[in-house]
């Protein structure tokens, strides 16, 4: 590999050591192989980018500071989001990465791929970009890490015609960024998981398709995230990381296969590992039969998690909607809170769309600049929000009723 010359990076080199796979190796590999490929005659537009990144990064390590700058808005035709403009403040020293914009590409629901699709993306990005990616970004997009302004459009086109031009089974579209709907994501759900209480992949796909305009054209007060988890285990961290979290759940009784329970009893301590750990003490086990008082069950999933062969969510399935999850800026982090305790599975997608649209309309009108929807609700009050989504108050929306009697009796003071 050493026929390609790399910059000296004594600090980064330290991060090639150790057993965990090294991102430094990846950057070096891109630097070397892209150059090699170019030398071998491949069309490569940005062969020096990864090398440039090595230089900048080594300097960052030395100086303990970033060398990236926020830039103006850069975009591709027809879209307002999906590209993060990034510039290097070492323009003259490392011109290779003076522009180093990121593209966010909408992944397939559940991050399932055919290799043909991945290879096509690689081929296009080898040509038009740094050859570096993130699989995936923490919202869930495929992140294409670093290219120049003028290659954004060709790369977007490459993705739009990835089937025709690169043999992908389907084209790929741009994801969200800026004050728009962010790329929705979903846990693997029914594709692989026996716990899924609704079809997360389908829901995620439906929202994405129905709201292409909202996804691609920032026009809201701030970002809005949707995440779909098939059950309360919440494997996409929707509760904490999305404004609109759809958490699969059920309303009726946990399905029990008593024979399978007995099988588990041979290898685990059911009393200790299951019964005692139930947060509401809803279970009992006499060595023969596992009893669940389903009125006491809060559907926390623990018992089902431990004995997946024996226990299953009930049959009356659907989802709980939590609203407002977000990172701490400005008023502190928020884990989403219950806005709709239960929507039956067969009404789920339509009902969500109805609610989403109502929320967006209201937020669009009332939201302040950089005010997430959770913050708006909190500013405006739950009662107004409930009217917006046409939902009756339910005790399941709160851990406890209010502790102050400072209630606004608006209807009496018109």
């Amino acid at each position: 590999m050493t026929d390609v010359e790399l910059p000296e990076t004594p600090l980064l080199d330290e991060l090639e050591k150790g057993p965990w796979p090294s991102f430094v190796k990846e950057i070096k590999r891109a630097a070397i192989e892209q150059e090699k490929a170019m030398k071998a005659g491949k069309k490569i537009k940005l062969p020096g980018a990864a090398k440039g990144l090595l230089k900048v990064l080594e300097l960052a390590y030395k100086e303990k500071r970033t060398h990236w700058k926020h830039g103006g808005i850069v975009a591709v035709v027809g879209y307002g989001g999906g590209v993060i403009g990034r510039y290097c403040d070492l323009e003259d020293k490392v011109p290779e990465v003076w522009h180093f914009h990121t593209m966010r590409i909408n992944m397939p629901s559940g991050w399932f791929y055919q290799t043909k699709a991945l290879r096509a993306i690689c081929d296009a990005w080898e040509k038009w970009g740094s050859g570096l990616t993130n699989f995936h970004g923490s919202t869930g997009d495929i992140i294409l890490l670093g290219t120049r302004t003028e290659y954004l459009q060709p790369m977007a086109n490459a993705l739009a015609y990835l089937d025709k031009l690169y043999g992908s089974p389907a084209p790929f579209d741009i994801g969200g960024s800026g004050s728009d709907l962010r790329t929705p994501s979903a846990c693997m759900g029914p594709a692989l998981c026996e716990f899924a209480c609704y079809d997360t992949l389908k829901a995620c796909y439906e929202f994405t398709m129905r709201y292409q305009n909202e996804l691609h054209r920032p026009m809201w007060p701030y970002k809005f995230k949707i995440k779909c988890s098939g059950c309360p285990n919440d494997c996409v961290a929707a509760k904490a990381r999305s404004d609109f979290a759809i958490i699969g759940t059920w309303k009726d009784e946990i399905q029990i296969d008593q024979e399978a329970v007995k099988e588990y009893a041979k290898v685990i301590d059911i009393e200790k590992q299951v019964v005692k750990k139930c947060p509401t003490g809803a279970m009992s086990w006499d060595g023969k039969e596992l009893k669940i008082d389903n009125r006491e069950c809060i559907r926390c999933m623990h018992c089902i998690n431990v004995m997946p062969k024996a226990l299953k969510p009930g049959k009356e399935r659907g989802a709980t909607i939590l609203i407002g999850g977000k990172a701490p800026f400005v008023d502190g982090a928020i884990i989403g809170w219950v806005a709709i305790p239960f929507i039956p599975e067969n009404e789920l997608i339509e009902k969500c769309c109805e609610v989403l649209e109502a929320i967006w309309e209201w937020w669009d009108e009332e939201g302040k600049f950089r005010e997430r929807v959770g913050e708006l609700i909190w500013r405006k009050g739950m009662d107004e929000f409930l009217k917006v989504i046409n939902q009756k108050a339910d005790v399941r929306m709160v851990y406890a009723p209010r502790n102050n009697p400072f209630i606004f009796w608006r209807e009496l003071n018109q």
Partner: protein
């Protein structure tokens, strides 16, 4: 850029196409997955990294999971594809924590696959857990861009992640933990890594007010939006001098202003660093979701391997792992033993910096102890 006619690439001549959306998920599903979609019966963890999934139809699928550095060159992605083609019928997936998964129908191919991935990619097999037995592996660290790509980081992301995972490697490849433990990292308080609800998290923190370069502000910034971006009202416009004035007593070093205005850089090599949080949780299992709590307000940036951060995370993880009961995540463990004991056992110092006094948060008072009941 002018005159000289160059040959156009095909990508430069196609008609613009928008809003067609991502590939439909169905075409990306392995045939066995498609066949048994929504009809999985149960799963079993065969060994760390390998989950056996059994469908109602009787079909069996082995899902084999590998750790990834997330930042991948297209060349490595192609290698991954080669392996998927060879072992997994040309299908694969990534998990929500950036691990790679292959799908096998033949259990005899598991070991060769693991072997080949280790050799070709250097990716370890693991990151799973076995809830039935109550034995847990550590998964990948969800993280962010850091010095690789972002403009507001107070620390790097990938470098710390690599250093921590090197140190905790065996926890990934084995099931040695008593419960789920999710580690995350975000390089600034924007918390793109969603560290606000993780068992252990690292977050880059600035500690100095931004340095206002009046010239740069005049040149590059829109003053009203810069002022408006400040969450604490620390900024005021200075109309005369066409710049901004900062009230240092109000600034909490968030860097929001810097995002709006490159004329007031927030980074500071000596004072930037890493805060460590613990006891966040997202699943509903046993105990409700919890926000993470700050237990170390600052550790220095010490690249390339951040030993202070690595050792602190390790110390917390291992202290917890030694003392917790089965299924007891950090939040649950601390709930049982009390924060008194957490600080005692981990040897971390409790200081006034850890008492909430951020006036804007709707939680500030909820964390104050209103009871004379505590442990000594």
């Amino acid at each position: 850029m002018v005159a000289q006619e160059v040959e156009k690439e095909p990508e430069e001549t196609v008609e613009i196409k928008t809003d067609f959306g991502p590939p439909h998920y169905e075409i990306m599903l392995h045939p066995i997955i498609k066949k048994n979609y929504g009809k999985w019966k149960y799963h079993e963890v065969v060994r760390p990294g390998v989950i056996k999934r059994v469908a109602e139809s009787g079909d069996v699928l082995y899902v084999v999971r590998f750790g990834s550095p997330r930042l991948l060159s297209v060349y490595t992605v192609r290698d991954i594809c080669d392996i998927a083609d060879k072992y997994s019928d040309g299908y694969l997936r990534f998990t929500s924590r950036h691990n790679v998964e292959f799908f096998l129908t033949d259990p005899d191919k598991i070991e060769p696959l693991i072997q080949e991935v280790q050799e070709k990619l250097g990716f370890p097999c693991g990151g799973t857990w076995d809830a039935t037995k109550g034995e847990y592996g550590l998964s990948n660290i969800v993280h962010t861009q850091g010095w690789v790509h972002c403009h507001t980081p107070a620390t790097d992301a990938s470098g710390i992640v690599k250093s921590v995972m090197d140190e905790l490697y065996d926890y990934f490849t084995d099931h040695k933990l008593p419960a789920l433990c999710r580690i995350s990292l975000a390089c600034c308080a924007n918390m793109c890594g969603a560290v606000h609800a993780s068992d252990i998290s690292m977050v880059g923190v600035h500690r100095k007010i931004p340095k206002i370069d009046d010239d740069a502000v005049r040149r590059t910034c829109e003053i009203p939006s810069t002022v408006a971006a400040c969450p604490t009202g620390a900024l005021k416009p200075d109309m005369k001098r066409k710049t901004v004035i900062l009230d240092k007593d109000k600034c909490m070093y968030c860097g929001n202003c810097y995002t709006m205005c490159p004329g007031m850089p927030i980074f500071d090599p000596e004072n930037d660093g890493v805060a460590v949080l613990v006891a966040g949780k997202i699943s509903d299992a046993r105990y409700p979701p919890q926000l993470s709590k700050v237990v170390v307000p600052w550790l220095p940036n010490n690249p390339p391997r951040w030993p202070e951060v690595v050792q602190t995370v390790k110390k917390i993880l291992e202290t917890w792992a030694t003392h917790a009961e089965k299924y007891e995540r950090i939040a649950e463990w601390v709930h049982r033993i009390g924060w008194e004991r957490f600080f005692e056992l981990t040897g971390l110092e409790f200081t006034e910096k850890l008492i909430d006094d951020y006036k804007r948060t709707p939680y500030i008072y909820a964390s104050y102890r209103t009871s004379a009941a505590f442990r000594w």
